[in-house]
């Protein structure tokens, strides 16, 4: 089931309409940050929580407050925080890698994320909305994450960052955009379908180098 892991409730589009448009584009679920759980037609709406904290302790306190069944993401920051955040229990994905300094999400954080099964979220919004230097920085950061993903095997998830239904992008467009930073079509499909596994882990134990 393809899932857009970041749509924002509270924009110019209701959650119902966002789910309808996502369904029309070929998604089976959306994560709605600020939204409530439910189903619209065949599209499942998963509530999302984004944690922004200055320290791992404060992040942990916020993660505990997240409602049950929510998709919890922690916004990345400096390298020390990122290493700790990758290992926090209850975190499904790490977001905001395009806003970090170069190498802030490093090989230690990548290995921890792989061991704990924590995903890294790649947001398409900076590729779509930004121009020039900011877009180039985002492409560069994402290419770095893809390289670490190939080495350590932590999951990736993809989100549009849509606050309007016009900001959603079809899976075909997502595949084309992901080619900009070297993520192939197969990996894109895996990333779009990774949310179910993150919300309900329980597969066989996998050995990570």
């Amino acid at each position: 089931m393809r899932t857009d892991v970041r749509t924002l409730a509270g924009g110019d589009t209701s959650v119902e309409r966002m789910a309808l448009e996502a369904g029309a584009l070929g998604y089976g679920a959306i994560v709605s940050v600020g939204g409530t759980a439910g189903t619209v037609g065949r599209v499942r709406v998963i509530p999302g929580v984004t944690v922004r904290a200055a320290s791992p302790n404060r992040a942990m306190a916020e993660i505990r407050r997240a409602p049950e069944g929510a998709f919890v993401t922690v916004r990345l920051g400096d390298p020390g925080f990122n290493r700790a955040a990758a290992g926090l229990p209850g975190v499904h994905a790490l977001c905001g890698v395009h806003r970090c300094r170069k190498n802030a999400f490093d090989h230690v954080a990548a290995r921890t994320a792989a061991e704990r099964g924590t995903a890294v979220e790649l947001l398409l919004e900076p590729l779509v909305r930004e121009r020039g230097g900011r877009r180039q920085v985002a492409i560069s950061r994402y290419a770095d994450v893809v390289e670490l993903h190939a080495r350590y095997g932590f999951p990736l998830v993809l989100g549009s960052g849509a606050s309007s239904c016009l900001d959603l992008r079809a899976p075909r467009a997502v595949r084309a955009l992901c080619q900009l930073f070297g993520l192939d079509a197969e990996s894109v499909e895996r990333a779009l379908g990774a949310v179910e596994g993150l919300l309900a882990p329980g597969g066989p134990v996998r050995e990570v180098e």
Binding site: D12, T13, S14, V15, E16, R17, A19, L20, E21, L25, T36, A37, G38, T39, V40, G41, V45, L124, L127, V128, R129, R131, G132, S164, C165, L166, D167, L168, R169, A170, R172, A173, V174, R175, A176, L177, Q179, L180
Partner: protein, 159 residues
């Protein structure tokens, strides 16, 4: 000017894309300029000529864009970066790629026409409510700030 023999002509591919919202379809030239700007911004002056895009048709809420064979994915990526035309929010969603325009025309499904179901004025604010198909409803608000659209669904949200 004598045309080139067929073996020397470039191979073209055509991308069919749906324009959203369907009632804000711009004309071909405006669309061409927006696509050219998006392609140049994303791939630069060096990459844009390799794509060699052109708007072939704008009809029934869709646009058909031509590009060189092998450059379809880059064109689709550039189309995905278009967020507004003439100050109006817009999205271009790719639907199909083909070697002929005819096969794309066969795949075109016209979007439902918006139907005005209500209009009210409050001071300087005018709200027009449109119903689009069975499950979508758009409210266009005109006020001193200009025009903005609020998008709603009309089917039940099951918790």
């Amino acid at each position: 000017m004598k045309p080139r023999p067929p073996t020397l002509r470039p191979d073209w591919r055509y991308v069919l894309a749906r324009i959203a919202p369907s009632y804000r379809v711009p004309d071909g030239k405006t669309l061409y300029l927006a696509i050219a700007e998006a392609v140049t911004a994303l791939f630069g002056d060096g990459g844009a000529p390799a794509i060699d895009q052109a708007v072939v048709a704008v009809e029934r809420g869709h646009v058909i864009v031509r590009c060189r064979r092998g450059e379809e994915e880059r064109l689709i990526a550039a189309l995905a970066t278009i967020t507004a035309i003439d100050g109006c929010a817009i999205a271009i969603h790719p639907r199909a790629v083909s070697g002929t325009i005819r096969s794309l025309r066969d795949r075109m499904v016209a979007p439902p026409e918006p139907v005005l179901v209500g209009e009210d004025a409050d001071g300087g604010t005018v709200r027009q409510r449109f119903r689009i198909g069975a499950s979508r409803s758009d409210v266009i608000v005109h006020d001193y700030k200009g025009e903005r659209v609020v998008y709603f669904g009309t089917i039940d949200f099951e918790e």
